[in-house]
């Protein structure tokens, strides 16, 4: 499995949020504007990459019986570092993301990839995995946030001060609130199923949409 193949997996085939259904809580809460989604995605990517590399580097040293506490200590350390750094050097973004920065620790993507991948593969491949999944997560957040922000607020803020008002759209407040988040997410999931089915048909292969119930979660598929 090459670096490139592992990296690309996280960007489409196993993209967090849409295919690997992990990290949903911060997704729905933070995607009220593209700027917030982007900031959250970058912070989570940084933590994911550092955590994956650290776990992979220490995989022979971490005893199996206490591996979960060790993963958590590693993830929590990096998250706290990100939190402090953001507070110091990206203060307004820190205020905007608020409580969701410390909550990156319990973002299932971090723990899930540590347990399912980094603990069993080399540092190099784990780096690829972390980067791919992190960037995939960021892309998913930005896509969802773009839909919600344009339809719910009539604006598109990519990063202060690059924001635009979208003309001709009468904002529907529901898109900024929880129901709108779920609706937008459902539509995107359905869209992705459609695209993948069409791609599979073109290759002459059948396609079944992934089951999003607990049994098929990527963590249990690999873990003990």
């Amino acid at each position: 499995m090459s670096f490139y193949k592992q990296f690309v997996k996280g960007l489409w085939e196993e993209i967090p949020v849409f295919r690997v259904v992990l990290g949903m809580c911060p997704t729905l809460a933070v995607t009220t504007s593209v700027e917030n989604g982007l900031g959250m995605g970058i912070a989570a990517t940084f933590v994911l990459v550092c955590s994956n590399v650290a776990v992979a580097a220490l995989r022979r040293v971490i005893p199996g019986k206490v591996r979960i506490p060790c993963f958590i200590v590693i993830a929590a350390t990096f998250v706290t570092m990100v939190d402090l750094m953001m507070n110091a050097f990206a203060h307004s973004l820190h205020q905007a993301l608020g409580i969701f920065i410390p909550l990156i620790v319990v973002n299932c993507i971090i723990l899930g990839r540590a347990e399912a991948f980094a603990a069993r593969h080399t540092v190099w491949l784990s780096l690829a995995d972390g980067l791919g999944m992190g960037l995939g997560f960021t892309a998913a957040l930005v896509a969802l946030a773009a839909v919600r922000e344009v339809l719910g607020n009539g604006t598109l803020t990519v990063w202060q001060p690059w924001g635009w008002k979208v003309g001709g759209v009468s904002p529907a407040l529901v898109m900024i609130l929880a129901p709108g988040g779920f609706i937008a997410l459902g539509c995107i999931l359905a869209g992705m199923n459609r695209i993948q089915a069409a791609l599979a048909a073109r290759r002459g292969r059948g396609y079944t949409a992934p089951d999003f119930d607990c049994r098929h979660c990527i963590i249990c598929k690999w873990g003990a």
Binding site: P69, T80, M81, A88, H91, L173, L177
Partner: protein
């Protein structure tokens, strides 16, 4: 027993390493964080006061009134008193609302800014942050406060439609802050 000791030892090492790394990060970020918070505060104060040239944060004065400590930021330009700002708080619809209020030397309100009102309903209560609502406070008298209520309660302030509770909270907070200011105005203006 041996295995338990090994497990404990590994965990201990992990936590030690983590602690060291975090202590280092904390040391590196402590000053920038304080600076960022002070800059944020100054920016907010700059929006509710006319131009000043003194160090607002250093010239802040604390006044105890009614069991609560009020901090007044006294603004001066070339030594002359140009206004004072203070933080006021009230319970809104979903949670506390914090405001910054700026008062001019002639006893009129210069501006009101909402610092935090995260628990108000988006699209309804959150409209209290908008200029359309807050602009009503500009020019009102800090000394005669008969206007300080929403229209429903006999005052002069038009509440946000569908957000009476949030609007009332803002007016209550401003009113209580102005009362304290009126009581201590003399000592605040006089102090160096």
């Amino acid at each position: 027993m041996k295995e338990t000791l090994r497990l404990v030892g590994v965990l201990l090492l992990f936590c030690l390493a983590s602690g060291l790394l975090l202590a280092w990060t904390n040391a590196v970020t402590r000053a920038p964080i304080e600076q960022a918070l002070a800059a944020e505060k100054l920016q907010g104060l700059g929006r509710v006061l006319p131009r000043f040239d003194n160090d607002l944060l250093a010239d802040a004065q604390s006044v105890t009134d009614g069991g609560r400590e009020w901090v007044f930021y006294v603004g001066r330009e070339k030594g002359a008193f140009i206004g004072a700002a203070f933080e006021a708080e009230a319970s809104g619809y979903g949670g506390p609302i914090r405001l910054l209020v700026g008062v001019l030397p002639d006893g009129t309100l210069h501006a009101v800014q909402v610092l935090a009102a995260d628990k108000e309903t988006p699209g309804l209560g959150s409209k209290i942050k908008e200029a359309a609502f807050l602009g009503q406070f500009k020019g009102r008298s800090a000394l005669e406060r008969g206007w300080a209520a929403v229209r429903k309660d006999g005052g002069a302030i038009e509440a946000v439609t569908g957000a009476t509770i949030s609007s009332r909270a803002v007016v209550t907070a401003v009113k209580s802050g102005l009362e304290v200011y009126a009581r201590h105005a003399a000592e605040l203006r006089g102090a160096p």
